[in-house]
């Protein structure tokens, strides 16, 4: 908790029509941290990520990223700041090849960096995900769920993120691969110094990877703390499985 603040979310609110999905959420992420966002389905985790990356417009509050308020900024501008969102449900370009998906990940710096740099990144990504190399000419939509998830993360990595928003990366993955994915998150930090904000179903595993965590419920942050604290908190369990039946 003593690094530079990379991003600070202050009192953020979002509504979908009559539904208020976020009710004044505040949190902060320091450079180099891995932060987990926990909570039951429908609690507002995905909404928070989508608002940070610009897919949703907040109704109030601010998002200070690298000293600039990016709340309400268009998603396609946000990514240019190396704030990269790997969305829920993979969202790969299903009718395009794996390679094309990866190239598109690097779309926003197609001019600045030469193609060579992109090629180099693709090489690195293939090292991280050998399966993608084998299937580089396969259409995204024809791969299995797990492979699609890897492609989605790899595509995010191609954007050279400083802050990576990962929405349920292990969703639909076999446990062993899920473990790899989470380890990869650590590797990313080790190698590129990437900061990560992570939503993860697997509470235990994600808290093992993360430094800290926030618990969100009904659109509000209800608890925060170090991974260790949260792991042993009975309320966390209750947030997922409901009150104990008598």
């Amino acid at each position: 908790m003593n690094g530079d603040k990379l991003m600070e979310v202050i009192d953020l609110s979002v509504s979908y029509g009559p539904i208020q999905a976020l009710k004044g959420v505040s949190l902060a992420i320091n450079k180099g941290e891995i932060v987990a966002l926990l909570g039951a389905n429908g609690a507002g985790k995905t909404t928070l990520l989508q608002t940070i990356s610009g897919l949703l417009k907040p109704t109030g509050g601010s998002i200070i990223y690298q000293g600039v308020n990016i709340a309400g900024m268009e998603a396609e501008k946000v990514v240019e700041k190396h704030l990269v969102h790997v969305p829920e449900h993979r969202q790969v370009f299903s009718t395009m090849t794996v390679l094309d998906n990866l190239y598109l990940g690097a779309y926003h710096h197609r001019k600045k960096s030469k193609m060579k740099n992109i090629e180099k990144n693709i090489g690195k990504v293939f090292d991280l995900f050998p399966i993608l190399k084998d299937r580089k000419n396969q259409l995204g939509g024809t791969m299995s769920g797990g492979q699609q998830q890897m492609l989605a993360i790899a595509r995010g990595v191609m954007a050279e993120p400083e802050l990576l928003l990962l929405d349920e990366p292990s969703l639909g993955l076999a446990p062993l691969i899920a473990k790899d994915v989470l380890e990869l998150v650590r590797n990313l930090r080790a190698e590129f110094g990437t900061t990560v904000l992570l939503i993860e179903q697997n509470v235990t595993a994600s808290l093992k990877v993360a430094d800290r965590g926030y618990v969100i419920s009904h659109g509000e942050i209800v608890k925060s703390g170090s991974s260790k604290e949260l792991l042993n908190d009975p309320e966390v369990k209750e947030a997922y499985l409901g009150h104990t039946v008598n």
């Binding site: 939509g141 299995s144 509470v203 997922y240 499985l241 039946v245």
Partner: protein
């Protein structure tokens, strides 16, 4: 009453449901739960015939329904609500419910066109019936408001009322409490019980565990498209597989080799 037998559903390369089987007995409230992406909504959509399963059968009171179009399933006595709210927003509250009663009268387009004298007695009857449904769900005061002007809580109630107005034997409720506050959720629980007491069997998909645990007679738990548990709420809460599914096991200690998908 409802029998789901080894249902598998694939979308492109992704398997949403794999060999899922379970049954719903008459008069029960059954909950279908599971973490995000478990395939609950897919299963729900197949039961209500939004799309057919890739393989497997669904039998309702002896009739195979997995390949019927939705409008033919409804007359058998299955009705549903929608997670993402499919109210007819350009219609009034009572009109919404009257569409729900569609199957209870029979006149075709050309017959209707020739009724030069306007409203028939039938229409009046339907209207009065709709009013009583609204009263049942506590919506009678806003019967003439446009659906698009309602709050979320009222919209959920309206969907519920509309589905109930089809006079179903089996009612499918898809995240009926999503987005509701605590008090509204409790009211919803009470309503579901009240509906069951009229003799309607209820199948719910729900995220709100408090609601599920308090009203369901039986729970079916899906994870990654596969049924991992079935039992009473208490059994489920203590089921290791379920806890793992929701909270995640510590994968460092538990080497699982199976390729899930």
């Amino acid at each position: 009453m409802l029998q789901v037998d080894s249902i598998t559903k694939r979308f492109g390369g992704v398997v949403a449901n794999s060999e899922v089987s379970f049954t719903v007995e008459e008069g029960q409230i059954v909950g279908l739960i599971g973490p995000n992406g478990a395939g609950k909504s897919t299963m729900f959509n197949m039961i209500s015939s939004v799309f057919p399963p890739t393989t497997g059968t669904i039998t309702f009171q002896g009739t195979r329904i997995e390949k019927l179009p939705a409008y033919q399933v409804a007359p058998l006595g299955i009705s549903r609500t929608f997670q993402n709210l499919q109210v007819f927003k350009n219609m009034t509250v009572i009109e919404n419910v009257m569409v729900g009663q569609h199957m209870q009268t029979k006149t075709n387009l050309f017959g209707m066109a020739s009724l030069l004298l306007g409203i028939t007695r039938k229409e009046r009857k339907v209207y009065d019936q709709a009013m009583s449904y609204l009263a049942f769900f506590g919506l009678q005061d806003i019967f003439d408001q446009k659906a698009s002007s309602l709050s979320l809580g009222k919209l959920r109630l309206l969907e519920f009322a509309r589905a109930f107005a089809t006079e179903p034997k089996l009612l499918l409720l898809d995240e009926i409490a999503a987005g509701l506050n605590h008090k509204e959720t409790q009211e919803m629980s009470a309503l579901i019980n009240k509906v069951r007491d009229t003799g309607v069997t209820v199948l719910v998909v729900e995220h709100d565990m408090d609601l599920v645990m308090s009203i369901c007679d039986k729970l079916v738990v899906l994870d990654q498209g596969v049924k991992i548990a079935e039992g009473t709420p208490k059994e489920i809460q203590e089921n290791e597989a379920v806890i793992t599914a929701y909270l995640g096991a510590d994968i460092d200690e538990e080497e699982v080799e199976e390729e899930a998908i």
